[in-house]
Symmetry: C2
Subunit: 211 residues, 2 copies
């Protein structure tokens, strides 16, 4: 676990730690960062549209869009470190002794709880990434045309973030024993990926039409 | 243009500037960062495989993979700021006077050169992202199975990076007058996107098979 939030680290330092032999930060943390970058691009489109007379008719839409995107950006930025922390709990549980039956049972209880926590963070990342993908559509449709490519990049990042988060949900589910939890969680992920994929195609087509 | 390289900025500060009303950094810079994160994940897979007896047979492959990924990570990290600098040159050329025919001609010459530069950076990003996508395949196939999801995230980011870079090539090409340059550049982008899309499907399938 980092001594400070990863979002306070320099980009280069984060990249260097990512590339190192420590398993965290890994794909789960990066999934969250990718989503936060997408949310930041949606906000940027609103920032380039708000206060512009040419876009007077969409000022209320843009103000709403900005608030939504900024909340998602804050949530996703928080998950950049939260994912690493959830991983650390799993790693700690793995190291618990399993010499006796009591120790085995205790380790299993703690590990199963840690795995649920580690699956929950990327699930939340995927939900937030889907929300970013949804916001990219009005950003591309109604935002400043000069910034439409930024709305297009936002949907690409939102989809990649959801897909990356899904892989990180899957690796934790693989070790979870509660079959109902596994089925329910994966079913939610599948519906998220279906919608982010649909939005990616739709918003990319909108974007290319306007460039 | 930033006073220091964006990669020396804290992640949160970069996200905040991205979300602001300054058009840079925008989607082009983020495309490069996304690719650098993908390259970092490929390196991480090699770091978790090198020196492990279980993976003795693939040590040479991993050493090669590591060198390639680290070069691409350095290149892509450099493009995070280079994209913003190329944009600044276009913005400066746009502000040149066009009162007389001489001024118009001079502005046009400078602007066309700046636009080529601004199209060239995301083209290089797309080329590097394709190279990262190619490396993610041996990372998923031969790397430490415990890190296979990181190889999967790498290909997702490489594909999103190439797609995002393509949008940024397109917006600059829209204003370039040299028809041959436009056709040639876009044709290269189309073949890059075809291959990154193919690799995304292939490496994701490989990854899900191993989780």
């Amino acid at each position: 676990m980092p001594e400070q939030l990863y979002t306070d680290w320099a980009i280069q330092a984060y990249l260097d730690k990512l590339a190192g032999s420590d398993p965290e930060p890994g794909g789960g943390s990066v999934a969250a960062l990718t989503g936060a970058l997408g949310a930041g691009l949606v906000t940027m489109v609103t920032a380039l549209t708000l206060g512009k007379e040419k876009y007077a008719a969409v000022q209320d839409d843009m103000a709403w869009l900005r608030n939504e995107a900024e909340q998602l950006r804050a949530d996703l930025a928080g998950f950049v470190s939260a994912d690493a922390e959830a991983y650390a709990k799993v790693a700690a549980a793995m190291k618990m002794p399993r010499g006796t039956d009591t120790e085995k049972a205790e380790r299993s209880t703690v590990l199963q709880a840690a795995l649920r926590g580690a699956a929950d963070v990327p699930l939340k990342v995927a939900e937030a990434a889907l929300a970013v993908a949804r916001l990219s559509q009005p950003a591309a449709e109604k935002g400043n045309t000069n910034a439409v490519s930024d709305a297009g990049v936002a949907v690409l990042l939102a989809d990649a973030s959801a897909q990356a988060a899904a892989l990180n949900v899957k690796i934790n589910l693989a070790w979870i024993e509660d079959a109902a939890f596994k089925t329910e969680t994966w079913s939610r992920i599948e519906s998220i990926l279906e919608e982010t994929g649909r939005l990616r195609d739709l918003v990319l087509a909108l974007t290319y039409d306007k460039i």
